[in-house]
Every structure is written in structure tokens, then in C-alpha cells.
């Protein structure tokens, strides 16, 4: 069922397109040699070029261009071998040049496609319109002085990729899935760290609503939304606002709006009439960016395996479900961890442990996949102890918790705590006999056909053996003795 919002006049379809700004991972800025580290003291990472001193000239950073091309390749997009930098002219205190160098008419990357997966297991393609490179602006700081504003130019000139989607997104869920998928691809590629809290990934959300079968209605742009959850909320509250406008007999005006996560609403920032005339024109300080096909091919050959390909491989190579594979490949480090556990072992059991007990332990302890509560090697050893019948599944969970708690290896814990599985048939038979002797009525009921009671006997035998009985041997002994 397609997502709609039920209004007074019936269902409304939501139409969303996203412009995602992703900070390029690079040692230096797009057109200067200044550094780009986050959180440095104000104005400590500023060259004369970034501060737009007289006579200073931009020189393109070859690595930033390579990163944009890698990203384009990761988005299955067309790489434009000739692109151009333009100037976007406007005045602001944190824009030293009085213009932003961007790519307007001829972006470095053209159309591409991103596949997203939804909760119901369905997939959908979202078109990429373009990706272009541009400079970030500095930051105005208004809360340091009652009457003055301060300017921090550390971000001024930092390379950004603006990734523009087609208006193919039709629900808050799809919008969230798109941002998550895009972030995953960027992280795999190593072209953007995807950190939305630090602002290295932020989204402008274009939203409109319409009745089924209609052409697009007027859209509004919600600026600078900085988390996946906020993107989803912004789509919903902006759609609801527009529906209320249309149903109230009004007309949605094209404008730029701000999302206020505290109040759960969007607010008008500037209307179309106040929109800047950016007076774009080709930057005469810069030559067109001309790429060699061979160089692009070299970048393509060096790309890592991306989430979609990895997911397909996990399905075919490890026999995982599409869902489990999707969960495991979302982060490259998780996929790597999983493969460390699964290699040479039963992959489905490995997947269950990673997505089950391991993820739970990670959440509970607040650790991360980069700094996991249990290493992939240790988890693998635990699985080995189950595979060779040293311990059974139930004990394994106990051992795992002890591993999280103590940091010790599984074999040591099993030895220390005497958790080794009992395979001695004498001991098992004795326990079975004791349980049968203690429960004559149940035995009678079982023998008269109440098969379900078998589990009762297994449970009691295991309990009597402190959980350490080999389940297969316990079953066999019970079957034999109960008749």
C-alpha cells in the first residue's frame, strides 16, 4: 500500500526530493591548502585564499575531485569528463569572497540511482539528478556578545558534495531510508564520514503534496535538517501543514522553511520574492575540470565492495536472508565483523549471533562496532565450542554474557565455571531415570498419548544436569526410556 496522509478531503500523496550536502573527506579545502579538522579553535584553519584577501586565487584540490568522482561511481552515476566551476554571488558576513564557488550548469556527476529497502522487505529505486562540488561557508556566531557577531572561517572553503535526488520519494520512511542508504554508501567509499551531528552530512528536504494522479503541486524547501529522524519528521509535519493550507482553501507558496525539532514544526525563512538572484557565471579564476577516462576507470577499479553488492554476496555466499544481509551490510565495519565470525563456520548461526546477542550486548554496553564488547575472533571461538559439542546453545548464551562482562575468552570461561557439556551416557541415563521416577503421573499421561509432555521431561532432565546435558543425547535417552 502506498503511503498517503488522510485529509478532510481524502488521501494525499507526499512527494519528496532531497538535496544532501556531504562534507568531502580530504586533508585540505576545496581550493586552498588549509586543513579541515572538525572542532579546531576558531579561525585556526584559514588561509588567505579562504579569507578572500586581495589577489588570492583558488587552486582545485585534486583529491576532492577524486572523492566526488568516487561518490558518483558509488551512486551508479554518469561521470562528466568536463565540468566547470561557477560563482554563486551573494553577500554574507561568513562568505568572505562574496560568492560561493559551486558547479551550476555543468556538475561533475550526472544522473544516477540509489536502491532503498523498506521495512516490508520491498525495494525501490530513487533517482539521483546530479552531484556537484562546492565550497562551504564560514560560521556566524551570534551568542558571544550582546551586540556583536563573530565569524569563524574554519569551514570557509571546505569541500562539499551536493547530492540532489529526483522527487521520487513518497513517504517519511522512504526519505529516512534514502538518507541512511546514501550515508552508508558514502561511508563505504570513504568520501564523507556521514556524521550528521557534526554537520558533515545535512539535508535540504523538498516537500509537496498532491492528490493521486495529479501533476506536482508547489513545493517548499526545508533547510539544514541534521538527522535521519528529523528528515522523516520534517517530511511529515511539512506535508501535514501543506495539506491544511490546501484544504483550508489556501495555496502553498514556494518558500524556504526551517525545521524546528523542539516544536515539531516548520517555519518560513524566506519567500520566493525574497529569494537571492545569485548571478551565476563561470568562475574566471578556474579552468574547466577535464578528467581522463582512464583516471576515472582507475578510481572505479579501486572502489571497495559497496552495500548492494555485499548484500547480494552475503545472500548467495552465506545463504542469509535478504533482511539479515541488509542489516549486516549497512555499516562496513559490521559486515567486516560478521565475516570475521562467519568465515569457516555456519554463517546462519553466525548471523543470528551477530544480529541477536551481539547487537544487544553492544547496545546495552554502549560500545560500538569499532570497539566491540566481544571481538569477532572470540565470538567465533564460542561458536566453535558449540559446533564441537563442548557446550550447548543454552550454555553458550551464559558464556557469551560472561565474555561481555569479563573480557575473557570462551574456552577459559567454560573451564573455569565447569560448563563443559555432559556427554557421559551413564550420567544422562541416571538423570533421566531420576526424573521418570519422580513423575509417575506424567509418565502415564505421556504414554497414553500426550506427546507434548516430552518437553517437560527434557526441561527437567536439563535442570537436573545444570543445563549441561548434551541435548541430543538427553533426547535419545528419554525417547528410549519413555518408550
Amino acid at each position: 500500500m502506498a503511503y498517503t496522509i488522510e485529509g478532510a478531503s481524502g488521501p494525499w500523496e507526499v512527494v519528496v526530493g532531497l538535496e544532501v550536502h556531504a562534507q568531502v573527506i580530504s586533508q585540505s579545502k576545496l581550493f586552498s591548502g588549509a586543513a579541515t579538522a572538525y572542532g579546531a579553535s576558531p579561525n585556526s584553519q584559514v588561509s588567505f585564499v579562504d579569507a578572500a584577501f586581495p589577489g588570492m586565487l583558488p587552486v582545485p584540490n585534486r583529491e576532492a575531485i577524486a572523492q566526488a568522482v568516487r561518490t558518483g561511481l558509488g551512486l551508479n552515476a554518469k561521470i562528466n569528463l568536463v565540468s566547470r566551476f561557477d560563482r554563486k554571488n551573494y553577500f554574507y558576513a561568513d562568505l568572505p569572497q562574496g560568492y560561493q564557488i559551486s558547479q551550476f550548469e555543468h556538475p561533475i556527476v550526472g544522473t544516477g540511482v540509489v536502491e532503498i529497502e523498506l521495512a516490508d522487505g520491498s525495494t525501490k529505486e530513487v533517482g539521483i539528478t546530479r552531484l556537484h562540488l562546492e565550497q562551504d561557508a564560514g560560521k556566524s556566531v551570534h551568542d558571544q556578545h550582546p551586540t556583536k557577531s563573530f565569524i569563524d572561517l574554519n569551514r570557509s572553503g571546505v569541500a562539499l558534495m551536493e547530492i540532489v535526488s529526483e522527487p521520487d520519494i513518497r513517504s517519511p520512511e522512504e526519505a529516512g531510508a534514502y538518507v541512511k542508504k546514501l550515508r552508508s554508501i558514502l561511508r563505504y567509499l570513504g568520501t564523507c564520514d556521514g556524521n550528521m551531528e557534526e554537520g558533515s552530512l545535512r539535508a535540504d528536504v523538498n516537500v509537496s503534496v498532491r492528490k493521486a494522479g495529479e501533476a506536482y503541486r508547489t513545493r517548499c524547501e526545508v533547510k539544514n535538517v541534521n538527522s535521519v529522524r528529523f528528515v522523516m519528521q520534517a517530511v511529515e509535519v511539512e506535508a501535514l501543514r501543506q495539506i491544511a493550507v490546501w484544504e483550508g482553501g489556501g495555496e502553498v507558496q514556494q518558500e524556504t522553511r526551517l525545521f524546528d525539532p523542539n516544536r515539531g514544526e516548520t517555519r518560513s525563512m524566506r519567500s520566493k520574492e525574497d529569494a537571492h538572484d545569485y548571478r551565476y557565471f563561470p568562475d574566471p579564476d578556474l579552468l574547466p575540470v577535464v578528467l581522463e577516462q582512464g583516471w576515472v576507470d582507475g578510481l572505479r577499479a579501486a572502489l571497495p565492495e559497496l552495500p548492494d553488492a555485499k548484500q547480494a554476496r552475503f545472500i548467495s555466499e552465506y545463504g542469509l536472508s535478504r533482511y539479515d544481509a541488509g542489516v549486516l551490510v549497512a555499516e562496513q565495519a559490521t559486515a567486516l565483523f560478521f565475516e570475521g565470525v562467519a568465515r569457516g563456520r555456519d554463517a546462519k548461526i553466525a548471523a543470528n549471533w551477530v544480529t541477536g546477542d551481539f547487537f544487544a550486548a553492544m547496545n546495552r554496553t554502549g560500545r560500538t562496532i569499532e570497539d566491540p564488547p566481544v571481538s569477532a575472533a572470540a565470538l567465533g571461538q564460542l561458536l566453535d565450542l558449540m559446533a564441537d559439542s563442548t557446550i550447548n546453545g543454552k550454555i553458550a548464551k551464559e558464556v557469551f554474557e560472561a565474555m561481555v562482562e569479563t573480557g575473557k575468552g570462551p574456552a577459559a570461561i567454560v573451564d573455569e565455571r565447569g560448563l563443559r557439556q555432559v556427554t557421559d551416557t551413564g550420567a544422562i541415563d541416571a538423570a533421566v531415570d531420576a526424573v521418570i521416577a519422580a513423575n509417575p503421573e506424567k509418565v502415564a499421561e505421556y504414554r497414553s498419548g500426550k506427546d507434548k509432555l516430552f518437553g517437560f521431561f527434557v526441561g527437567n532432565v536439563m535442570k537436573a544436569m545444570a543445563g549441561k546435558g548434551n541435548p541430543a543425547l538427553v533426547n535419545a535417552a528419554l525417547k528410549a526410556k519413555l518408550g
Partner: protein, 491 residues
């Protein structure tokens, strides 16, 4: 006297230890003190720095490891950022600006041992053809009409550079040319100036006017001196993406090549209506000299010439409107405070910029605006491509072109001030070289009836300054131009 020597003569004299760099520099500083008050060619004289540089040059000469320009005193157009030395671009808005860096071109000259006497006056942000738009007062030409003492303009925008070289208060000077700002003042002041091919000299550290047109070059006493200076100023600079990664030829050697066998084109479209007869006559005279020297003279056509000036006055202001946005009072230069950010901008720029700069910023903003971009800027870029094609086509058949540099001799201060268009027309012969990026040189060829210098322009293929120098030197030899301005060192 020492200030009468050409650059080549001074260089040789220094090497032969006939005089020291300190003596030569002191001679120039004394001349500046005597003459500059009459001309206002310098906005800043850096005597202490010059003497220190001269001492260093003498030491290098004594050691025998002196650079090719060791001890040569130069004026630096105030558009070149000079480390620790105020750089104004002729504008109030940069009056307090002391750059913490040295432009590549001036750094190249310092590397070669040159001495900087001071910063030369200029039209504000290089916008002008008369040097009347400088925030620090006009430059007076060292020349006057016969029997007429009215102050004349030296041309612009490199008017201070040209006047200083002409009046012998600098041995040579740096200049820049966006639409004729080297060649037209050279013509007005009876000296030589070359705008090299776009990309030959780095633009890094030169205050930008119109980035796709701006190019640095020298003005000098004669063609050989200009060639020597250009050799030092040129070269690839990775800090300027538009700088050409090409070796720098021996320009001075090219001056001695001669023109025998060269094909010299005469563009018929440059015979503009209303061109004074004596300029037309001088042009023919120049062509005659080249023919006598063994060149073949060929009529050629540059059909899009007539659109050059109109196109220039769209492209240059458009780029300028954007380039000058950084002068906002926030980070450097002059600031006039206001109630809020918008009024800070408005007050700073209203007080900081002069009328001509404001006019061009407004024209440039207009032609880039939504709804006008296609009709003006985009169209201009297309015409620009056609102008370049004109030159590419004719340079298949000829080695160089020869034209007048300007449609008139120097005019009086205050003349042509009523209508900006009349002033803009001064650039009609020089602008096409900027639009197409080709090199252009102006060499003095004679005097008009009132005793004012007139220059001829030599245009050449991109990065073929050598042929341009060869033709310029041939014209110079034939013209035997020896006239001197009334105001000069020692006069």
C-alpha cells in the same frame, strides 16, 4: 646622468662596477623627490626599503652571484600586493591595507635582484584610461602640448607606472592590462609596454579587476628593456590555475631577430571612422618601415572587431562586480560601520569606492542578473569566442599584426570626463587582445602635430611574444624616437 641610462645600460654599468646600486637608487630617489610632486606618479615611495635592497644588490654584485636585475630600480603598480608595503589598488577602500604576502610577479623581480622604489599611482581598481579615477589624485603626464601648459593625462590605468618611466623617475615599472591599461599609457607617454599572452605572468597576488582579462606586464624605456623585465616577471605559477606551464623564452634575444620574411597583417577594420589623419599617416609610415626591413605587408580582416569594445564592457564589469564583492569592510581594508550587516556593507562600499568603480559594479551586476544573463553575458562570451576565432584565422596567414595603439594622443585632465562612453572608446584598439588573450606591445613611433607621442601596437600569436618583440624592435629602430617629455629627471 645615471637616470638617463636604459635598463640594459644600467645593468651593464652595475656589472662593470662603474657605479653602485646604491648610487643608482639614490639618483632615482632624488629624482622622485624633485619630480614626483609635479606628477603624482607614486602614491608611496619606499626609500628605506630601496636603499636596503640596493645594499644587498651591491653585495651580490661584489660576490658575483647577482641576479639578472640586480640593482635595477623599478616602480610597482599599486595593484601588485607587496609584503609589508601598503597596497591600495588606487582605492580608498584599500587605503589601510598592508598585504602579508608578495605577489608572484613582484617576488620574481625581487628574486632577480630588482629594487622597488615605491608604489605607482593608477586608476581605481585599474578601471580607467586616464588615471583620473585614482582615489589618491590624478597622475599628470610628463608631456605637454607644444605651447600649451594644460596638464595632460598619462593614460590609464597604469598611468603612474608609465609617467614614472617616461619622466625617468623609474628605470622600468610593472603594470597590468585588462583592456589596454599597459599599452595605452605607454603610447601616451612615449614609452614601450607589453601585455603578454594571458597566462604568461601569474595573477597571484595581483588585485583582481576582471580575472579572465587581467594580465601583468612591464613598461620600459625601450623594447629591449621591456623584454628583459618580462623575462623576469613571467613563468608558471601553480598558485594561479590560469597560468601557463610553458618555458620562458629569451625575449631580449628575440628583439635582435629582425623582421625579414615575416608577414605583417593590417586589419582593415581598425581603420575606424574619425581616426585622426596623423595617426593613420603614422600607421602607414610604420608599415613602410617594416616593408623596408624585409617584411611583407598583408591586408587582413578581423570581422568581429567592431563588437570588441561592447563585449568588453559586459565581460569586464561582470567579473569586476563579483571580484570586488570581497571589499565589504569585514576582514581587511577600510570599514564604515552601520546599524547592521547590510548597512555595514552599504556604508563601507559607498565611501570606499569611487564613481567609476560603482558604475562598473552596477553594470556588471545588471548584466549577470536573472533575465539579462543570456542577452548580455552569455552573448558576450559567444562574441568573445568569435573575436578569438578572427585572430586564430588571421594568424594562419600572418606572423603579427600592426595597428595604432590608441585612436588619439594624450588628452587634457578633465577632457572626455562628461560621458564615460567617450572615455571607453580609447580602448577600441587594445581591447581585442584582452578578449582573445593574445600578446600586444605598444612602441613609440612618432609625435603628433602638438608634439605628443603616438604609439603603434604589435599583436602576435598566443605565447609568441618573441615575434612581437622582433617586430616592435624593428619599428623602434626605424622610428628612432628620441623625444623627451618636458617634465623629467634633470630637466
Amino acid at each position: 646622468m645615471l637616470t638617463d641610462l636604459t635598463l640594459a645600460e644600467a645593468r651593464d654599468g652595475l656589472r662593470a662596477r662603474k657605479f653602485s646600486a646604491v648610487e643608482l637608487t639614490d639618483a632615482y630617489l632624488a629624482a622622485i623627490e624633485a619630480v614626483n610632486p609635479k606628477l603624482n606618479a607614486y602614491v608611496l615611495v619606499t626609500g628605506d626599503g630601496a636603499r636596503a635592497q640596493a645594499l644587498a644588490a651591491d653585495a651580490a654584485l661584489a660576490r658575483g652571484d647577482a641576479g639578472p636585475l640586480a640593482g635595477i630600480p623599478l616602480a610597482i603598480k599599486d595593484l601588485f600586493c607587496t609584503e609589508g608595503v601598503r597596497t591600495t589598488a588606487g582605492s580608498r577602500i584599500l587605503e589601510p591595507f598592508i598585504p602579508p604576502y608578495e605577489s608572484t610577479v613582484t617576488a620574481n623581480l625581487l628574486r632577480d635582484g630588482a629594487i622597488f622604489l615605491g608604489k605607482a599611482n593608477m586608476d581605481e581598481f585599474a578601471m580607467g584610461s586616464s588615471n583620473m579615477t585614482s582615489a589618491f589624485g590624478p597622475v599628470t603626464s610628463p608631456w605637454t602640448r607644444r605651447g600649451d601648459n594644460r596638464a595632460l593625462v598619462p593614460g590609464g590605468s597604469s598611468g603612474g607606472s608609465a609617467a614614472a618611466v617616461s619622466a625617468r623617475i623609474a628605470l622600468g615599472a610593472t603594470a597590468t592590462d585588462t583592456g589596454g591599461s599597459i599599452r595605452q599609457p605607454a603610447s601616451f607617454c612615449g614609452i614601450t609596454g607589453i601585455k603578454p599572452t594571458y597566462g604568461r605572468c601569474s595573477r597571484w597576488g595581483v588585485v583582481a579587476f576582471a580575472s579572465s582579462l587581467d594580465q601583468a606586464g612591464p613598461v620600459a624605456r625601450n623594447v629591449e628593456d621591456a623584454a628583459i623585465l618580462l623575462g623576469s616577471m613571467s613563468g608558471f605559477d601553480p598558485k594561479d590555475s590560469t597560468s601557463a606551464d610553458l618555458p620562458v623564452p629569451d625575449f631580449a634575444a628575440a628583439c635582435r631577430r629582425g623582421v625579414k620574411g615575416l608577414r605583417i597583417g593590417v586589419p582593415r577594420e581598425y581603420r575606424s571612422e574619425g581616426m585622426p589623419a596623423e595617426i593613420e599617416a603614422l600607421w602607414q609610415q610604420g608599415l613602410g618601415w617594416l616593408r623596408e626591413a624585409g617584411a611583407e605587408i598583408v591586408d587582413v580582416s578581423l570581422p568581429h572587431t567592431k563588437y570588441g569594445l561592447a563585449t568588453y564592457y559586459i565581460v569586464a564589469p561582470a567579473e569586476a562586480s563579483s571580484n570586488l564583492a570581497r571589499y565589504d569592510g569585514v576582514r581587511f581594508g577600510a570599514r564604515t560601520s552601520g546599524e547592521d550587516l547590510a548597512s555595514l556593507y552599504e556604508n563601507t562600499r559607498a565611501e570606499g569606492f569611487g564613481a567609476e568603480v560603482k558604475r562598473r559594479v552596477m553594470i556588471g551586476t545588471y548584466v549577470l542578473s536573472a533575465g539579462y544573463y543570456d542577452a548580455y553575458y552569455l552573448k558576450a562570451q559567444k562574441v568573445r569566442a568569435l573575436i578569438l576565432k578572427d585572430f586564430t584565422d588571421v594568424f594562419r596567414n600572418v606572423d603579427a599584426l600592426v595597428t595604432p595603439t590608441a585612436p588619439s594622443a594624450a588628452f587634457a585632465q578633465g577632457e572626455k570626463m562628461d560621458d564615460p562612453i567617450t572615455m571607453y572608446l580609447n580602448d577600441i584598439f587594445t581591447v581585442p587582445a584582452n578578449m582573445s588573450g593574445i600578446p600586444g606591445l605598444s612602441v613609440p613611433a612618432g609625435l603628433d602635430a602638438q608634439g605628443l607621442p603616438l604609439g603603434l601596437q604589435v599583436l602576435g600569436r598566443p605565447f609568441d611574444e618573441e615575434t612581437v618583440f622582433a617586430v616592435g624592435a624593428a619599428l623602434e629602430r626605424a622610428a628612432g624616437f628620441t623625444a623627451l617629455p618636458g617634465i623629467r629627471a634633470g630637466a
